[in-house]
Assembly symmetry: C2
Homo-oligomer: 206 residues x 2
Amino acid sequence: MAGIEVPNIVIGRLPIYLRALSHLMEKGQEYTSSQELGQILGIGSAQIRKDLSHFGEFGKQGTGYEISYLRDQISKILHVDRDWTVVLVGFGDLGQAIANYGGFGSKGFHIKAIFEIDPPKIGNRTNGIVIQDVEMLSEVISDKQIRMAIVAVPAAAAQVVADKLVEAGVRAILNYAPITLTVPDYVKVQYIDPVVHLQTMAYYLL
Amino acid sequence: MAGIEVPNIVIGRLPIYLRALSHLMEKGQEYTSSQELGQILGIGSAQIRKDLSHFGEFGKQGTGYEISYLRDQISKILHVDRDWTVVLVGFGDLGQAIANYGGFGSKGFHIKAIFEIDPPKIGNRTNGIVIQDVEMLSEVISDKQIRMAIVAVPAAAAQVVADKLVEAGVRAILNYAPITLTVPDYVKVQYIDPVVHLQTMAYYLL
């Protein structure tokens, strides 16, 4: 499989499979099938088998997939079988909700530094992390060799923040600001824009 | 074009085009091209022309697209040239950030009711909206004929909430809880799960 590039859309589905597998494990189930996964996720079972076939053979005819094995394998493929250090930029309402969300740490994504431009917030602590002046961003990221960042600043500030993050060495940005960021090809950006989702669904409502 | 179903993935890109067009308008620009839009969004210009061709002819050879016209047309196609009423279920950290986010109302999505299960929060007000007991959910949605909901409750409660929403008449759910919801075919669900995005990007980091 080395050297063959897997389509981005397939990579994007692996975390969804992982989530479903974890859910089944929590329920105490040991085996599953592409049919069952497909039903849970609303994806065709053939699509699931094809997606997984990019990475090897994970199921057995008759018994299907051993859930804990498949979960471990997908975790390795995605490089989420280890811990990641993440910085958060922006500590407004949204940034605070992100900092307090338990779902990142439990999946191995640890917010280890938080940056903010608003002086009254700087120096405060949340979950043991000191909110730092955004001026410190480059230094902290370089020192700690951090590669992942979450951007939760207003739209007008997001591109400047992204530029600083990339310059400091960040290679993956989760952007909550409602603008498309311009970054070099070697940097990945994913977007969270709830309005885009509401607008997409509005199409189907009339 | 009536009767021909446009692929979901095309519909999902229209809000992104809308966002880019609004951004260009705010900068005072009057005309754009599929090339320029493609560059801003990291999408091929041929793809953009093909997406738009599902709905008609919007550009002119030589001058390209008139931004305000194209924006209005896409708004109409998506049914976002009108206001939508939305309910929010869950008023924890995330629900509070959602309720306070100005980006929904400015795009015509108005949160008009908020529901919560935690007694101390019920009866409080935020932006003029009273937090109501989740027991009131069905009645309020039926009365006001609300079709859109944002779910910001813990994973364990999300399916029960979704069932109640659908029964009361909701047809579009924006789900922030990290589980896949089971809903009838006539209900649209879109997901916001930041961990999925971080996991997807982790693949590319090593």
